[in-house]
Symmetry: C2
Subunit: 348 residues, 2 copies
Amino acid sequence: MDPISGRFMRKQITADQLVDGILKGDRLALSRAISRVEDDGESARSILEALYPHTGKAHLIGVTGAPGTGKSTLVTALARQYRQLGQTVAVLAVDPTSPFTGGALLGDRVRMTALSGDKGVFIRSMATRGDLGGVSVATSDTLLLLDAAGFDRVIVETVGVGQAEVEIAGIAHTTLVVDAPGLGDEVQAIKAGVMEIADLFVVNKADHTGVERTVSALEMMLEQKRGGFRQMRHHGEWMKVDLPPDKQDGDQWTIPVLKSIATTNEGIEPLQNQIEAHREWLLSSGQWAVREQMRIARTVEKLIQRELARRLAAALPAGRLSELILAASRRQISPYEAARQLVKGMRD
Amino acid sequence: MDPISGRFMRKQITADQLVDGILKGDRLALSRAISRVEDDGESARSILEALYPHTGKAHLIGVTGAPGTGKSTLVTALARQYRQLGQTVAVLAVDPTSPFTGGALLGDRVRMTALSGDKGVFIRSMATRGDLGGVSVATSDTLLLLDAAGFDRVIVETVGVGQAEVEIAGIAHTTLVVDAPGLGDEVQAIKAGVMEIADLFVVNKADHTGVERTVSALEMMLEQKRGGFRQMRHHGEWMKVDLPPDKQDGDQWTIPVLKSIATTNEGIEPLQNQIEAHREWLLSSGQWAVREQMRIARTVEKLIQRELARRLAAALPAGRLSELILAASRRQISPYEAARQLVKGMRD
């Protein structure tokens, strides 16, 4: 209702109007729909459902890597490259490090300056809230909006090294892992964790010393991996998707290790070529459909978890939870017993 | 059943034997119980329930910070300091970066060498599996075991910057955030995210240039924060715990910024003193009980989520899920509709 923030005005716009606007390429409608997704997934639900049939066309590219690798600059250069080829690009920067501040910490302003004034580019940052399952639901809902809005390429960038990164890789078609020479040992160790999610590696800051050592190290790690199966990206316990055989002769993707200097645009065109090559491979090998199904499976899983949590909250008698927690803190019952009693109460 | 791995032998040991062993200070029993927690929470359930009444004594100290700050060395030095004071210490290194490899990536061997041969120290690494809710359940189950085993101080160390870190801060009594001079801009930005979880800051590598600038930057951030309330650590949607008023005059904790050079042990004793001071404050202000209840609330929340997911899996007719996902990938239905149908099927 605040006339200054425009909060009241926003509420006046119906879901149908936003859907129409997004499909017509209205960027303001898109921004508002994303804000609704961020505010509360539920109020955006009808928008998402209406747009869903219009999705499935965008190539979703995940870009990830340790702090200090120059990811943001690389993403900006990549977006510019796509624009030169006449393709529209959306960039979603997901920041899983900031559940409290709610602000956008990534190099947004830098990017805005480099790409502003171009209607074929859309840039948005999103700080996650720390809710369990919140990272992926808000992110995949936003990706759905960007896809429906007709962008040819949607780049999802994550900072940080953790579960969020792996989750986001699970919803991208192509995952690019950015590395750089001269990072510390701990950062090197972290790379082992992202090894399994990478479709392409790029060693950025290739003008720094030690670049060849970094490239060799990555190639050695890849060499060790080869011969084994690519691990399934989705690792929910109960959510199994039928996959075509992973090993089809002559139809394997060989993970390349590229070099770039994003600040001077060096290596960006070859990188973009390799991303396109991966896209071609996904389509010709049938992996595109596989990844699509896995992505949907994850989304469904998260939606169900959220729904069940909501039902639990609604079913809990007021005060019952505090009572059980107090009893557990006094060691009268265990948390396991408290959980059992609460689940039982939900059923009755 | 493999005689080489000893898998068969391990199964022969009953839960009761492990419980007895842990309470008697048997380290092998403790290790085995932790392995059961890692393998599958369920097989450890009876052990955890039996030990729960014996918990609540250990001071749980979370240590976190960006890569390259020297956390592992600092934790080792801190553990040594506690040992000199005659207190027993357990160190749990949680690695949220590696859902796939399952290996321990932190500086385990280094620590082992520095602290080996001392029965008052127990060190364990744990790689998280990437399951939703897996980080916290396995971690808090292990903390329960370490607490029941009688360690005076339990240090939980996390690498990485993300949700796992915040979650682990939510289960510690005292959270120490480690910083270092000369880290990049992106790492600086990340600190904003951990600002809200810190009870103490320490700038390690204080012999490096730029240490005063790093200290000032932290103090400035803290200054900006002061006057506001400390944000609630727990941010689940439905899980509300009654808190005593956060603002009691003269009873506020002032977050200190310390300096250390862990490699030469400088600043470790003052750091340990401040950790003890925080412990005293927790106890005298009633915050110890508050944090205990919040920790229990989170554990109960995770347990319930896991239980509901299990029930869903059991209730799903074979093939139904694949069917719905295929339909969604063809845009015949939306993932939201698929989730609704699955939840509905669970109820019937």
